[in-house]
């Protein structure tokens, strides 16, 4: 059974020439700010974040915990808790539609169908009291109106695509009967079921064993190629980003601080925080027992309006007076390479 003959699946993109659609911006986040009201004041989770992502590209969003990367990914699908406050000037444009202006009903048509998400912890991402099969085919029946039998058949194919053997048995099993790696494969299968254009993977390997991590990442890469998806990968691990992404965006304390093609971020980082992150990756050729480089201090948490000045200043080795006085804007230096710093690193 070829893909064209199955109802509801798009086959046109796989037939198109590889460069068609390249260069076209699929997702454009503009001036996104998110605050959470708390008894201590509004917690600033995201501050004026703007990112563009072109079709078929992979963007890695890298940052420490609390940098806002998860909030960013959930904002795209409007999955934030109801008390979250989004700045009124923000826009998230996906294929010409402003997602922030859509109603819940309209968003439900986008979620799972055009934009899908892979979550971090496969144990909690799957409903423990329902079978794998029922959770897998849910999206198919909802978005593509597939009858049961066809949906289960497709479910089997999906499980095979993500590398699960004896898929017939798995369909009637419960999540607790599968290993962590297999569960994550199921979560990925659920995400790609309706062939979304954009796949957001929020720390997909963090909760897994190291040996399984590589497999899952390879799986994601393969699926992206096969289905020609655009991907956003959220991670705190620069190493993972390196092997995977075309472009990297570095976040710190709710702000975007550096954005460039992967190679540029690794070879010529401009913002000192990005450089420090790179230095803290232990390398094979380091001297044995060498001290692990860590960045001293912790990222600030801001309640209420943020004070002026660069948020990284307190931990930065290149800090000068201006860094504490004025907030640096995000600006493009060399073409395609943006950063937020008054005293960026220089390269020849």
């Amino acid at each position: 059974m070829t893909r064209e003959s199955q109802p509801g699946l798009r086959s046109d993109r796989s037939m198109a020439a590889p460069d068609a659609g390249h260069g076209e911006v699929l997702l454009s986040v503009q001036n996104l700010g998110v605050r959470f009201p708390t008894p201590r004041g509004d917690l600033q989770a995201l501050d004026d974040v703007s990112i563009d992502l072109r079709r078929s590209r992979t963007l890695a969003i890298v940052g420490e915990s609390g940098s806002g990367k998860s909030v960013l990914s959930r904002s795209i699908l409007r999955l934030l808790p109801s008390k979250a406050l989004v700045s009124p000037t923000a826009r998230i444009v996906f294929d010409g539609i402003d997602l922030l202006a859509q109603s819940q009903a309209q968003m439900q048509k986008v979620r799972g169908r055009r934009i899908a998400m892979v979550f971090q912890d496969p144990m909690t991402a799957l409903n423990p009291v329902r079978t794998i099969g029922s959770q897998l085919v849910e999206g198919l029946r909802l978005h593509l109106n597939m009858p049961s039998a066809a949906a289960y058949q497709r479910g089997l194919e999906l499980l095979q695509q993500v590398g699960i053997n004896s898929p017939e048995r798995r369909l009637s099993q419960y999540p607790h009967e599968l290993s962590g790696g297999m569960r994550q494969r199921v979560v990925i299968a659920m995400a790609i079921a309706c062939q979304p254009e954009l796949l957001i993977a929020d720390e997909p390997t963090t909760a897994l064993d190291v040996t399984v991590q590589a497999e899952i990442l390879e799986l994601l890469q393969r699926l992206q190629r096969e289905h020609d998806m655009t991907m956003i990968l959220i991670t705190h691990d620069l190493g993972v980003a390196a092997g995977f992404a075309d472009e990297i965006a570095v976040m710190y304390a709710g702000q975007l601080v550096e954005r460039a093609v992967t190679q540029d971020v690794f070879k010529t980082p401009r913002m000192p925080y990005a450089a420090a992150l790179l230095r803290s990756i232990p390398r094979l050729h380091d001297a044995p027992h060498a001290e692990l480089f860590t960045i001293g201090g912790r990222p600030p948490t801001t309640y209420g309006d943020a004070p002026a000045g660069c948020r990284y200043a307190a931990r930065c080795e290149r800090r000068v007076a201006r860094c504490d006085a004025e907030t640096p804007p995000i600006a493009e230096g060399p073409p395609g390479h943006a950063f937020r710093c008054w005293r960026p690193l220089e390269w020849q």
Binding site: Q104, Q108, M117, A125, E138, G139, H143, H176
Partner: protein, 319 residues
């Protein structure tokens, strides 16, 4: 499957022990405490030889373990003896009263669920919202009303003032289904109003907790509409406390709806129990206690089996 059977088997063993204990306990208690069957039958001024004769007739002169053994043996064969006071076979007495109690219990549970399920789901879904707060306050108020007062209030308003329902009396279902339901409405409603707030609170809090789980966010990310998420994903894992309490209530209602049966003059098992106690009809009492205990055991087993259906992890964990 084998795991499930083993789990249920172990629970059954525990519950049977409880049943045995209950029977032995009742038997002993009735032996040791003052108040005598013979007094009830013959009065206080009976002559000693009459008492002795009666005791021999009733088999009361044999030693305790032998009597208990004989009773258990008969009970296993379905014979709970014959009440010396009314002459009625205990099993028949129970059988006559049982349909009333069962009807009351079923009707009450249905009404309670009809009230608690939709309100509980909505309150848990919109935690802290208007419905939630209204319902919480109302539940709190209703829970503070003693059930016999509630029954009297309902009689006052719905039977006396509005004349929509009869105040007391029982019409068997087989005689006239419509009248039967009508005569059962007030007592069932009273019971339902007592139980619904508890069910509601349990459901609401469990549901609110479940909705915070990650897999609910995942379901939203898949584009599922809210009602589907509520009913298909969130409801099942949230039912445990509710089902536990429901099981306890059902088990208790068979003999425990004494107040309601008294207020509304229903000839149920509860009334049978009270009569047996006040008339010192210990044989009947023993039989009814065994019956209530057995019902409790059965209901508990059903609830346990339901657990393992609702949560497939359970049979695995306890296996």
């Amino acid at each position: 499957m084998a795991q499930r059977v083993a789990y249920v088997g172990r629970r059954a063993g525990h519950l049977l022990a409880v049943l045995l204990l209950l029977s032995v306990g009742t038997f002993l208690m009735l032996e040791l405490l003052p108040g005598n069957l013979t007094d009830s039958l013959l009065g206080d001024n009976a002559r000693p030889q009459d008492i002795a004769l009666l005791e021999a007739q009733l088999g009361l002169d044999k030693p305790l373990p032998q009597r208990f053994g004989a009773w258990v043996w008969n009970a296993l064969q379905g014979d709970l003896g014959r009440s010396p006071l009314s002459g009625e076979a205990v099993t028949e007495a129970i059988a006559h009263r049982l349909p009333v109690s069962v009807q009351l219990m079923l009707f009450a549970q249905i009404l309670a669920l009809a009230m608690a399920l939709p309100l509980g789901i909505w309150a848990g879904y919109r935690e802290g919202g208007l419905v939630d707060r209204l319902v919480s306050s109302a539940s709190f108020g209703v829970l503070a009303v003693p059930h016999f007062v509630l029954g009297l209030l309902l009689i006052l308003v719905l039977a006396i003032w509005l004349r929509w329902f009869p105040a007391t009396g029982y019409v068997p279902f087989s005689d006239n289904p419509f009248e039967s339901i009508r005569s059962m409405t007030l007592p069932s409603l009273t019971l339902a109003l007592v139980e619904a707030p508890v069910y509601l609170r349990l459901l609401r809090s469990d549901l609110a907790t479940t909705l915070r789980e990650e897999f609910v966010t995942v379901a939203r990310a898949k584009g599922l509409p809210d009602w589907q998420i509520l009913l298909r994903h969130a409801l099942r894992p949230s039912m445990f406390s509710l089902i536990t309490v429901m099981g306890i209530n059902i088990g208790h209602l068979i003999g425990g709806a004494v107040i309601i049966e008294t207020v509304f003059a229903l000839p149920g098992v509860g009334r049978l129990l009270i009569e047996a106690i006040t008339r010192r009809d210990y044989l009947t009492l023993q039989g009814v206690v065994l019956f209530i205990g057995a019902t409790f055991v059965v209901v508990n087993l059903v609830v346990d089996a339901l657990y393992s259906v609702l949560d497939p992890r359970l049979s695995a964990r306890h296996g």
